[in-house]
Amino acid sequence: MNENVHTLSGAYALDALPPDELRAFERHMTQCPDCEREVRSLRETAARLAASVQQAPPPSLKGRVLSEVGRTRQASPIVAAAPDRRAGPRGRLTASRVTAAVLALAAVLTGVLFLRAQDQLDAERVTGERIAAVLAAPDTRRVSARVGEATATAIYSPRKASAVLVTAGMRELPASQDYQLWLIGADEIRSAGLMPEEPAPVLATSIRAGDRLGITIEPRGGSRQPTTRPLAVLPLPSS
């Protein structure tokens, strides 16, 4: 990411970025607290631009909105991971880095995600709610590992047989490759899906006791079985 990316904060706050740069900047913000802070203040400023052109809508709107509200289900709240923090045997993250990972996750879920186009939002919301359910589970444990310069943190709920994987600082792959996740059991390896190109939390389900979570680089679209050596393997301790 070149240095100029910081200057996109203004255009971002004005919703003036084209889609490709929007994604790049949102990715950048999850790792640049300065930009994140600046955007927050510039969003407040933009809100003042809005307030300065206020004008009442037609009065009939209120009744329509209120009756729809009565029929519309609310999203479930995002709950941060439980304070119970047990680093696994290979966990190398300090508390503050774990916090940073969870904050990055929260930024993706609460800030960035909700500002997308509606259809994209709908798909992401379903995943977001399932992810939130794992994070809110009372039995979560966290395991982290370094992947080169990057970090990968899994938040695992044995009760839900699911884990949420958050990565920070992963190297961008060429278009011909994807990161793929694997559940590595005693006698078989199952794919747990591809990692999205943008840094977003990934949900792995149907985890069995004793599984470990591995990350490999595979040809675009993924493989049926891993074809490269794992970049990281995270144990998922059930107790």
Binding site: S41, R43, T45, R48, A51, V53, A56, V69, Q74, A75
Partner: protein, 197 residues
């Protein structure tokens, strides 16, 4: 530019606004609170949506979607991540911009429309609320402290819904200059308005 009133460009004290508290209650499913919240936010949100989409019936449609979105997502609003008003305004503005950008075969949105969207020329809309009038004066005063180019790029993109490459081509100004002016223009506006975040 400094009037006799003390610091006229300061934001109204946020502590007195019932909006954050109402949004928190809405987040707990309180429909009565939503009804009251509506009275505080409908005008500012409608104003900006109308600015961007320009057509009143479309603006109303977009606003309705925005208000339902606010209802739905209110349980996830976190006060630590910005003010309640900024959060809701962002949803509204983004939705309005999505609407015009998806519609535009870019033929509809010609240069003339872009120029109309600039501050000063398209500023004489009817302001129906007293709060709106005060805020309009403050913001206008601060917009006057920006350079011409800063003001143009900020208002064209925010009120006109143009992306920065579109603004660059409408103003025949280099891309890099436009994005830099957007940032330093907004920063100057922020500092003039005394925005805290």
């Amino acid at each position: 530019m400094t009037g006799p009133e003390t610091r006229p460009e300061q934001a109204p004290p946020r502590a007195t606004s019932p909006v954050p508290d109402l949004l928190a209650r809405v987040g707990r499913g309180d429909q009565e609170a939503f009804s009251r919240l509506y009275d505080h936010i409908a005008a500012p949100l409608y104003g900006v949506v109308l600015r961007v989409v320009r057509d009143p019936s479309q603006a109303e449609e977009v606003l309705q979607e925005v208000l339902l979105e606010i209802w739905r997502l209110a349980p996830r609003y976190e006060a630590g991540r910005g003010s309640a008003m900024a959060w809701m305004t962002t949803i509204a503005h983004r939705r309005a911009v999505d609407r015009v950008r998806s519609e535009q075969a870019s033929s509809e949105r010609d240069v003339a429309a872009g120029h109309r969207a600039m501050a000063g020329q398209d500023y004489d809309v009817v302001i129906e609320t007293v709060a709106g009038k005060l805020e309009r004066e403050r913001v206008r005063r601060c917009l006057d402290t920006l350079t011409e180019l800063q003001r143009q790029v900020v208002t064209m993109s925010y009120y006109g819904g143009y992306s920065y490459p579109e603004v660059a081509s409408l103003l025949t100004t280099p891309l890099g200059t436009v994005k830099t002016r957007m940032r330093d223009g907004l920063i100057r506006l922020r500092d003039c308005l005394g925005v805290e975040a």
